[in-house]
């Protein structure tokens, strides 16, 4: 081995060691600052982690674009949902007066809210776009109570890292991190375009997460659970999308 290739070998070796230890330190720091998404262990975890970490570092508090009233879509669209069943119809006949939203988990005061109670809280209105992963989108005005307000009422414990939310449809559940949970535009929405939130669009209650794709804005929400670990939820990722092969973080 001549001088040249030996020097090259040593340089390459040192670079590899430096790179590997750099990566290890970066991974430790990323985990500590909540930059690793729950699906980081999958085949596509590297790409997902880069996206999620980059967006959390660059725009933790960034606001989703809001639109002028004239930009509200005349023809919004919602994917059809499976039949919601007799129990749902019964609640619907009663104008959802008996619909309840439970908030529990790592909270000081678990609570059960009726629709009327939620409507009495200070409301927030936003005109934002909802985009489906399929490619289509529409703009609508959404009205609801900021999720952060509910978290204050129930007294979220400091170690909470995720909010896990369930739909009336048993197969639908999702979760978001605290950056989105306490974000001012994340709403427990009960109104759309000046009226009640139609059932087709998720009424009576839909969690609206405007910084992520539509599948994170779960329809018919019934229960929010605050947790520091998603492993106990769903099939281990606390997200029916992620467990069905879709990205957990849908901010892209």
């Amino acid at each position: 081995m001549d001088q040249m290739s030996r020097r090259k070998l040593i340089t390459a070796g040192l670079a590899t060691v430096a790179g590997a230890s750099g990566l290890a330190v970066a991974a430790k720091l990323a985990a500590r600052y909540g930059l690793i998404p729950p699906d980081a262990g999958t085949l596509y975890g590297a790409g997902e982690t880069l996206t999620y970490a980059a967006q959390r570092l660059l725009g933790r508090h960034a606001l989703a674009r809001e639109f002028a009233p004239r930009q509200i879509s005349t023809y919004p669209f919602a994917n059809a949902v499976d039949p919601l069943g007799d129990k749902f119809q019964f609640l619907q006949q009663g104008a959802f007066a008996d619909w309840r939203l439970a908030v529990d988990g790592m909270v000081a005061r678990p609570a059960l809210f009726s629709l009327a109670e939620l409507k009495r809280f200070p409301s927030s209105t936003q005109i934002t776009e909802i985009a489906c992963e399929e490619g289509w989108s529409y703009v609508a005005e959404w009205k609801g109570v900021p999720l952060s307000h509910l978290l204050d009422i129930v007294g979220a414990l400091p170690q909470v890292r995720y909010v896990f939310y369930r739909s009336f449809q048993p197969d639908w559940y999702e979760s978001i991190d605290m950056a989105d949970a306490v974000h001012p535009q994340t709403l427990v929405a009960y109104g759309m375009n000046g009226g009640e939130l139609p059932v087709g669009f998720g009424g009576p209650l839909r969690l609206r997460v405007p910084r992520q794709l539509g599948y994170k804005s779960v329809k018919y929400i019934t229960r929010l659970t605050l947790t520091d670990n998603l492993k106990k939820f769903g099939q281990g990722m606390g997200s029916s999308a992620a467990e069905g092969g879709y990205a957990w973080y849908a901010g892209i």
Binding site: G47, L50, T51, Q55, Y75, V139, A247, I252
Partner: protein, 279 residues
């Protein structure tokens, strides 16, 4: 068209001591003293470094990422093969145009009596992971290109070619599918140079921009990324068209490689060595 790089031949010996990345692009017959020469001995065919290690590595990484992006992009596309202009669009609004292909979602009216299997989950995952590979590889390549003078030396048209006349001659030669001379195997002609510059500095940035403009997270951070394009659906439509141009580039690129000698050219992009047989 003369060899725009003949001035470099004299610098060959000085260059040879550096990384392969600096291998001169012209004058194949200058024998460079260095490790690469030893492999070939003195008899023909002569072998020299045509592409630097970094160019070769980034080329194939980009190829892999691009193919993954293409396949997954098509998969994502068929879940809604309709295109719109402006901010919003869905099956209840008139499309700008519709691709006459079946869809992987039953909600899209396609005229076909069947729905293709949904592949969006892994396709989206792989699309964005490949996009990261392509972007990081591209950044490395561009940084290297400026730092080591790769763009200036190998891709910027020579002063003599920076005229309409010079360009016209080169295009005419190109269109006649004239087999490149041995001299030309060692550097790019002006049509190649302009095409590569267009792909590297216009099409790739555009495909990244139009892609990012569809990300709700990214546009929250930088709203002008999408408003400048005229809205989310405009960005999606532009993303489709730019991909089309990139696919066209890929096809022409592969055809030209085949015409110029597939084994030799692909070999040069793998090993860096271009074998030119003395006549």
């Amino acid at each position: 068209m003369g060899n725009p790089h003949k001035f470099e031949a004299t610098g060959g010996a000085a260059v040879a001591g550096r990384e392969a990345g600096d291998a001169p692009s012209g004058s194949p017959r200058v024998q460079l003293p260095g490790p690469d020469d030893r492999a070939t001995g003195t008899n023909s065919p002569t072998v020299n470094i045509r592409h630097s290690a970094l160019v070769r590595g980034t080329h194939w990484l980009t190829t892999l990422a691009f193919l993954a992006l293409l396949v997954t992009g098509v998969e994502i596309l068929i879940s809604h093969p309709r295109f719109y202009w402006g901010e919003t669009g869905n099956v209840r609004t008139p499309p700008l145009f519709t691709l006459r292909i079946p869809s992987s979602r039953g909600t899209v009216p396609t005229g076909y009596g069947y729905v293709l299997p949904d592949q969006n989950g892994w396709s989206r995952y792989l699309h964005f992971e490949s996009a990261w590979v392509a972007v990081l590889t591209g950044l490395l390549y561009v940084a290297f290109g400026f730092w080591k003078g790769h763009f200036r030396r190998n891709l910027l048209p020579a002063p003599s070619d920076r005229s309409l006349r010079g360009l016209a001659t080169a295009v005419a030669r190109h269109l006649r599918f004239r087999r490149p001379s041995e001299e030309e195997a060692w550097s790019y002609n002006v049509v190649q140079r302009l095409t590569y510059l267009l792909v590297i500095f216009v099409l790739f940035p555009l495909i990244i921009w139009t892609g990012l403009a569809m990300s709700p997270g990214f546009t929250s951070v930088l709203p002008s990324a999408v408003t400048l394009l005229g809205g989310r659906q405009s960005a999606r439509t532009l993303h489709f068209f730019v991909s089309g141009v990139l696919v066209l580039f890929l096809l022409v690129h592969v055809i030209m490689v085949c015409l110029a000698g597939f084994r030799n050219r692909v070999g040069a992009m793998i090993t860096g060595r271009l074998t030119t047989h003395k006549e």
